[in-house]
Amino acid sequence: MSEIGNEARRAAERVARDSYGRLVAFLAARTRDVAGAEDALAEAFASALKSWPDDGVPDNPDAWLLTVARRRQTDAARRRYTRTAGEVHIQLMAEELEDAAAHPDAIPDRRLALMFACAHPAIERGMRAPMILQTILGLTAIDIAAAFLIPPATMGQRLVRAKTRIKDAGIPFSIPEREDLPDRLDAVLEAIYAAYAKGWTEIGDAAADRLADEAIWLGRLVVSLLPDEPEAKGMLALMLYAEARRPARRDADGLYVPLEQQDIALWDEPQVMAAEALLRAANRAGPTGRYQIEAAIQSAHIARRVTGQANWPTIVTLYDVLLQLTNSPVVILNRAAALGERDGPEAALTSLDTIADDKRMADYQPYWAARGHFAARAGRKDEAHEAFTLAIGLSSDEAVRQYLSGQRTALNDG
């Protein structure tokens, strides 16, 4: 397909997806039947993706999708619900579709409520991101499974189970009250960020690249629906900082390039600016949470753009704050790396020693890569060799593996 054709397709996908999520959320809000709502819209969505790239996106996409869905939904729902209880459901759905199709401009946006349902504490943590990706964006189980390294059939079963749970456990479709909002919003943000992180780590994998785009789209959606929440802005900023550096993560030969050695000219300026603006807005608005701090750390990293050097003292201080919030060994690891830049390799290694016995680090590739890096700089060759070897063994990314092998070979030359 030509570049213009691709562009039309992408534009159509975006609009269709926006409508899709809105309609699923709208239809499922009363019945809490996510699967039923998806069934009603599946064919309409598929024909939209077929015809919109060629015919253009309709003026009112919601109305278009509803019209197609309405024609097909009753039969599909009848096949699905054979008992009396199903009739009530079909009736409800038909009425809602009828009503909404008559006034498509007045369809309320309940996507936020749907996201809160998908990230409800009663839903298994690992399934929250896949649920949001499927219900809001209409991603297939196959696409989601590919990005999450889970067999497609297993992913499909888990999604069905989570949807059944929403229906059977009576998980509410609502935006939590003020006092519960921060905690519950955190679960939504965590799910979206988990999707982004999956899309970030797997490089050169189309499914993963796409997932990163989708996560950013979801981040924008949450910011637009909850404009007063600083953490939502913080998370979006965090994703945009990372995204801005995407083109610089590989050199011309496809080899991995660590952050400190990336070519600044390859960083995407508009995305950096957007991230900085979001971070400023978030900081103005209120209390400082995890995502705001992590975004601030990214901002201090890219200070190199202006000053020629990352602002390591600030980065260490920010990690101190983050550590108080999370107490996670990964934060200690990242802090140790920043400490190494500020105070030298021995300081980093001493800090890494404090988490050496943490079982979670035993198969955590970045831990061993960091150990290797600082042991090499401290001149402890044997220790560096062993750490690089473990990091190589724990990599599933060929570019990272090659980079680490190069580092290990360089030990003998230095």
């Binding site: 889970i150 062993e386 070897t389 473990l390 190589i392 599933s396």
Partner: protein, 114 residues
Amino acid sequence: MRYMLLIHHDDEALAKAPPSLWGEYAAFREALLKAGAGTPGERLGSSKDGKSVTRRSGTPEILDGPYADTKEQFAGYVMLDVPDLDAAIAWAARCPSAQYGTVEVRPIWPTREP
């Protein structure tokens, strides 16, 4: 949960793999042991040197060569002891052979309750 990674290789593809594969294997084995996630198994000799034995009618029948006439042959294994299937799949993805062949993840049949 115990799992076995069954490594299947196409002999031709393996012959084309760079020699660095074996260094990566050494690193993979070391990481596996260090993480306490399992025990490295063995690499098998060529399937061409294998024999297949059956005893359907009382007398053993012995055939030369590969058991199945497929391109990818069973080439080695790794034993895992990890919390769940997701962890087993993560180790399979790290296995250097995943790049040149197929790494099958199979649960070990529980012979007795722990």
